[in-house]
């Protein structure tokens, strides 16, 4: 699993890569009440917004860690956004066929960043 400095994670799963937001990001947002995802087939660009999360205190854009094509979206988090607060690392947002990675950092680098 790799991270971005803007609090997203990306994890390779076979041919695709799952993308989500970090536990720290979910904690800072507070209870998430709404998630907006792209559609399957959409292009995502590293560093650009591809999804939105809304909590009781803020609406934030989620930036894509990679460039590629969305192959799957997690409908479960649309119906139950609380899954992101419960376990941010299993509540993936989209699975992407990656063409190019963006600026990614290691877990240790990320942990140092949020210290």
């Amino acid at each position: 699993m790799k991270f971005t400095s803007t609090h997203e994670w990306v994890k390779k799963e076979g041919n695709l890569s799952a993308v989500g937001i970090t536990e720290y990001a979910a904690g800072e947002l507070g209870d998430i009440v709404f998630v907006q995802l792209p559609e399957v087939g959409d292009n995502v660009v590293a560093g650009e917004a591809f999804a939105e999360v809304e909590s009781v205190k803020a609406v934030e854009s989620v930036l894509s860690p990679v460039t590629g094509i969305v192959k799957a979206i997690n409908e479960e988090i649309i119906d139950s956004p609380e899954l992101i607060n419960e376990d941010a690392y299993s509540a993936w947002f989209v699975k992407v066929q990656v063409e190019q990675e963006g600026e990614l950092i290691s877990q240790q680098e990320y942990l140092d960043l949020i210290k």
Partner: protein, 476 residues
């Protein structure tokens, strides 16, 4: 508390229709409703008690201190209500001939002139609220570029410290939003702005003072950058109270703006009445203003459609009685009073900020509002900005704006306005300091605040995830 429907009792009534002396007329079946209309049957005294109770459960600026940042919840002088209820203003019809409503048209004309004196811009009073004014302003921007056959300007640049209505209005106007970061003090990141500007830039939206209550000192440099690339400057009038009568948006290089009459010019808002968001622009854009505007020809006031008008943005002429209130306020204060109000708004904000030094210290002075971060309190005690805001309710103070601007963690944003006394500010400072101190000794108590309010701590997460938007009136 029961709803008015739950108070309903069969047979109870407040009004007895007089005995009918004309024959009954049988209405055609097609005009008759198929279902019985459910209306509450309540006696007059029960209606009065119901709505009196409802008003007591609410909190407005007439109840107590209301430092809701960015909203300018200043006191609404009762004189405004008196003028707005004068017969000549209330018993006119929007379809009356112009010559029979010259007084009303004169007021609209003079209000536009007053707003021009304060901002430098030409106004249409049509928009019904601030965000509506923003939308109208962005439509003017779009129409201007298109009138020059410049169709590639589709992007609007907005700092991440902006009011949420800015990107929402831009999206509604069909523009693409380019978000740029802000510096720590909420001011514009000049380098990011330069990088974002190009031949596809329609314009840049900004509020000054910014959302951290600080004056954008590089405003002249900013407007040069935006204008150089062919974009227009949009002024979000939400923070006009800090500078009214002192600095004009036109002179800062802005081309288009809106004013929230319900903030700066003391007309009620927040459920107290309709808003009004006049949209204004520099001379070279005035032919694009929403129609109609009032102009003066010889000694007559007439409605006029600017030659390239973006059209009507509201039925008839906007929220007219709100204009009457704003006009009353401006005349009451006069040119000197307007300046005095802005100065006192800034003084009050700085006074409260200084009083709060004990829990939060920042260098320098602010304009009409300031932002405190409760991040340290949260780290130390787990008490959040939300808990602190909620605890203020028990002390008869309306919470400040929370979690805005988003660039400050655990933000509380205070705007005391000019109408509050030193006593009120001293009391508020003591309340806030006491709450923060309490966080370190009995945090649990704050997590469940408020205790004395009619509604204590609603479950906001549940409300957002499973909103219950309808109620069966028959069942109550």
């Amino acid at each position: 508390m029961l709803t008015i429907y739950q108070r309903s009792k069969i047979g109870a009534k407040s009004f007895e229709a007089p005995f009918i002396t004309v024959p009954k007329y049988a209405l055609d079946d097609k005009y008759l409703g198929k279902e019985e209309t459910i209306l509450p049957s309540v006696s007059e005294i029960d209606i009065v008690r119901h709505y009196t109770k409802l008003s007591q459960n609410a909190f407005g600026v007439d109840n107590g201190f209301y430092p809701l940042g960015s909203c300018t919840m200043k006191y609404n002088p009762k004189l405004n209500e008196i003028t707005a209820s004068l017969d000549g203003f209330t018993s006119v019809h929007p379809l009356q001939e112009e010559k029979s409503v010259q007084g009303c048209l004169c007021l609209m004309y003079e209000l536009s002139q007053q707003l021009k004196a304060i901002t430098g811009m030409n106004f249409s009073l049509q928009p019904a609220a601030g965000a509506h004014g923003e939308l109208a302003g962005l439509m003017i921007m779009k129409a201007y570029h298109e009138s020059r056959n410049d169709f590639k300007r589709t992007k609007i640049i907005i700092p991440n410290s902006a009011h949420g209505t800015n990107p929402a209005s831009a999206a509604l106007a069909g523009m693409e939003i380019i978000n740029i970061p802000s510096l720590d003090d909420g001011s514009v990141d000049i380098i990011a702005l330069k990088n974002a500007c190009g031949d596809d830039t329609a314009g840049f939206m900004l509020t000054n003072p910014n959302t951290l209550g600080l004056f954008e000192e590089k405003i002249m440099e900013i407007n040069k950058i935006v204008h150089k690339c062919g974009g227009l400057m949009y002024y979000d009038g939400a923070n006009l109270n800090a500078i009214m009568g002192i600095a004009r948006p036109l002179d800062m290089g802005f081309d288009i703006m809106h004013i929230n009459l319900h903030k700066t010019f003391s007309t009620p808002h927040g459920g107290g009445g309709p808003g009004s968001g006049p949209v204004g622009c520099a001379d070279f854009l005035q032919q694009f203003l929403p129609s109609p505007i009032v102009i003066k020809e010889n000694d007559n006031y007439i409605f006029h459609k600017p030659s390239k008008s973006i059209g009507k943005v509201k039925n008839f002429y906007g929220n007219f009685l709100v204009m009457v209130k704003a006009y009353t306020y401006i005349l009451t204060l006069g040119a000197e009073g307007i300046v005095g109000a802005a100065q006192k708004a800034v003084l009050n904000a700085n006074y409260l900020k200084e009083k709060l030094r004990e829990i939060y210290y920042t260098k320098g002075s602010c304009m009409h509002e300031f932002v405190l971060s409760m991040q340290k309190v949260k780290e130390d005690t787990k008490v959040t900005a939300l808990d602190i805001a909620k605890a203020m309710i028990d002390k008869n103070i309306h919470p400040p704006t929370m979690y805005f601007p988003a660039i400050v963690q655990e933000a509380l944003m205070f705007e005391p306005t000019e109408t509050e006394s030193k006593t009120t500010l001293d009391n508020a400072a003591k309340v806030i300091i006491d709450i923060v101190k309490k966080a370190y000794v009995s945090a649990d108590e704050l997590h469940s605040a408020p205790k004395k309010a009619y509604i204590t701590r609603p479950d906001e997460t549940l409300a957002a995830r499973n909103p219950k938007l309808r109620i069966d009136l028959a069942k109550g």
